[in-house]
């Protein structure tokens, strides 16, 4: 009797345990369901469709007239000089903005990581462009870059430098956008560096200054090596941000002059929505996605191997 009862209890316990487990599973699925459904419909599905569309020819507004055309879009793409130009511009922007912006951010972080009375004021100054939306900043800087009546040309004039055409010139337009973008986003990376700096133990600095290390030696041998991981993170997110360049050229130059500021994101937008080549634009999107993936993975690998 007793053993039977014990076995029964054991069985009951197991049953209730597995019931509890099942109940927890049901709860788990219910909790993730809203997010998962939304992500499936508005992230995974569009992603798959982008791949599918890249093998078709159709007008976005007439999806009933969709036609498969195999690899035609890709063939076209690899012969399109505008695509290469946009790819080049995108990479050019990235290759310059990433190191410059990270270096400026690092320097700013060093500058505000001290016991200075006004350091919160400085921090807010560096950070205020980050909070301001890119649309506002782009419009503001069109005015600043105005070749005739802009603030920057007036300032240059003050130092005896002749007027510059900035956004109106094929040589200067991209550099003008780069300069503005560094100004806009350096404060963001500064905050990340700052958190990294504050994570370094003060004892190391004290010990090294007892040993006679000067400030530059401390920077070279303590600060910079300690920030390795933070730097990798900053470089990675800045790169991924940079290859998406869109709002600045869209508002400021519309890709001109002479296509010198046309980027991949801008090309996708123009092909898809202005020229209505949804298939072709999707092919560019797929290439664009692959570039982002390759960059992030190779950066991860490169820095991990070091």
């Amino acid at each position: 009797m007793q053993t039977a009862w014990g076995a029964n209890e054991h069985k009951n316990k197991q049953a209730s345990l597995s019931r509890q487990k099942r109940r927890e599973s049901v709860v788990g699925y219910t909790f993730i369901a809203p997010s998962v459904i939304l992500l499936l419909v508005f992230l995974v599905l569009p992603f798959l469709l982008a791949v599918l569309f890249s093998f078709t020819k159709f007008n976005l507004l007439r999806p009933d007239k969709i036609q498969f055309n195999g690899l035609d879009n890709y063939m076209l793409l690899f012969q399109d000089s505008l695509f290469y130009k946009s790819l080049f511009n995108t990479l050019y922007f990235t290759v310059i903005v990433v190191p410059v912006q990270s270096a400026v951010a690092f320097m700013l972080a060093l500058l505000v990581n001290q016991q200075l009375k006004l350091r919160n004021v400085y921090r807010i100054a560096y950070f205020s462009p980050v909070v301001t939306s890119m649309t506002v900043i782009a419009i503001l800087w069109i005015s600043l870059y105005n070749p005739n009546e802009g603030l920057i040309n007036s300032a240059l004039n003050f130092f005896g430098i002749p007027k510059q055409p900035f956004l109106r010139s094929a040589d200067q337009a991209m550099h003008s956008i780069i300069f503005m973008s560094v100004w806009q986003a350096a404060g963001y990376q500064m905050m990340i560096f700052l958190a990294g700096l504050q994570g370094i133990s003060k004892d190391i600095y004290e010990a090294s200054s007892i040993d006679g290390a000067n400030r530059f030696q401390q920077l070279r041998f303590i600060t910079i090596p300690s920030l390795y991981n933070v730097t990798v993170f900053v470089l990675t997110i800045t790169t991924i941000q940079a290859v998406k360049l869109f709002v600045q050229p869209y508002i400021m130059t519309n890709g001109g002059p002479e296509n010198t500021t046309r980027t991949l994101a801008l090309l996708i937008y123009q092909q898809g929505f202005q020229f209505r080549n949804a298939g072709y634009a999707s092919a560019i999107s797929v290439i664009f996605f692959l570039i982002v993936v390759v960059i992030s993975f190779s950066m991860k690998k490169f820095f991990r191997d070091k």
Binding site: K21, S25, V27, G28, Y29, F31, I32, P34, S35, V36, L38, V41, F42, L43, P46, F47, L49, A50, F53, L60, L61, L111, Q114, L116, L118, R119, A125, Y126, S128, V131, S133, M134, V136, I139, L140, W141, G150, L151, S154, N157, W183, G187, M191, I192, L194, A195, N214, F233, V234, I240, K244, I251, L264, A265, Y269, G272, A278, S282, S285, V292
Partner: protein
């Protein structure tokens, strides 16, 4: 170098850099309160950065030409709804991924992390196709629904909830509290900071929405504030004072929000950096 001279050098460097960083925005705000002719007259001297001949005329004139208030409310409305619904949906998902046991949990987590890399620009075309098929173009749904679930937010929540002690959850379960009740009445009240962080990161992000609203708000009625100022900028006659007034006006709400939640915003940026 003594500490004192070092400090002096640092202060001077900071002052120069701060001025460089703040001048464009200062000029924007100051010019918005100046008569048009004064803006250009002052351009070549330091007077460009001083609020001389203070006036509200630019604001009055600009507001007369475009419905700025409407754009402001449009933006406030859809961004707020997106972010609040996002908090609900993403927090509960992050909680399940952190604390509940179910088959496929690890897979979902990996998928959420992997999907963070998909740039919006690369799915723009099919996204429009889907929204158009749902007949959502020129409705609030188009601006809100696709952006409620957010992989980065889910991940932030999950990381935060991982640190909630299991004992609290277990004792609540023993007391007969359902998982949903435990989440709402015990976990959420403990998690103010992560909610604030996700909220402000998301808010600043969507406040700047530009590419998507161009596509899905074809009419005037749902136009957001970024699109509003951009159309105004291209609308002749161009008056700098009025443009600066609209730019300043657009920036004010986000600056207020930033100062209210500054601590959490910085925490959000930096925690992603240190953990990631």
């Amino acid at each position: 170098m003594t500490d004192r001279t070092a400090k002096l050098v640092q202060n001077i460097a900071n002052i120069i850099m701060s001025l460089l960083f703040i001048t464009p925005l200062l000029w924007m705000v100051v010019s918005s309160f100046k008569p048009e002719t004064q803006i250009f007259a002052d351009l070549s001297s330091l007077k460009a950065l001083l609020p001389l001949n203070f006036t509200f005329d630019n604001y009055i004139a600009a507001f007369d030409r475009i419905p700025m208030m409407k754009y402001l409310f449009n933006s406030l409305f859809y961004v707020t709804v997106t972010c609040i619904s996002g908090l609900a949906v993403n927090s509960i998902c992050g909680y399940a991924l952190a604390k509940l046991q179910f088959k496929g949990r690890e897979f979902v987590l990996m998928a959420v992390i992997a999907l963070m890399i998909v740039p919006f620009e690369s799915i723009l075309m099919p996204m429009y196709f889907i929204v158009n098929s749902l007949k959502w173009v020129d409705t609030w749904y188009a601006l809100i629904v696709p952006f409620v679930a957010n992989c980065f937010s889910i991940f932030m929540f999950r990381q935060f909830f991982m640190d909630v002690p299991n004992e609290i959850l277990e004792s609540a379960a023993i007391d007969g509290s359902s998982p949903m009740k435990t989440f709402i009445s015990i976990v959420v009240p403990l998690s103010g900071p992560v909610f604030a962080t996700v909220f402000i990161l998301d808010y600043i992000n969507h406040w700047g929405d530009f590419m998507w609203p161009i596509l899905v708000t074809t009419g005037e009625s749902l136009r957001n504030i970024q699109l509003g100022i951009q159309t105004f900028f291209t609308l002749p006659p161009v008056y700098y004072g009025q443009i600066m007034a609209t730019l300043t006006f657009t920036t004010v709400p986000i600056i207020i929000l930033f100062f209210m939640l500054q601590k959490y915003y910085v925490q959000g940026i930096t925690s992603a950096g240190i953990k990631g």
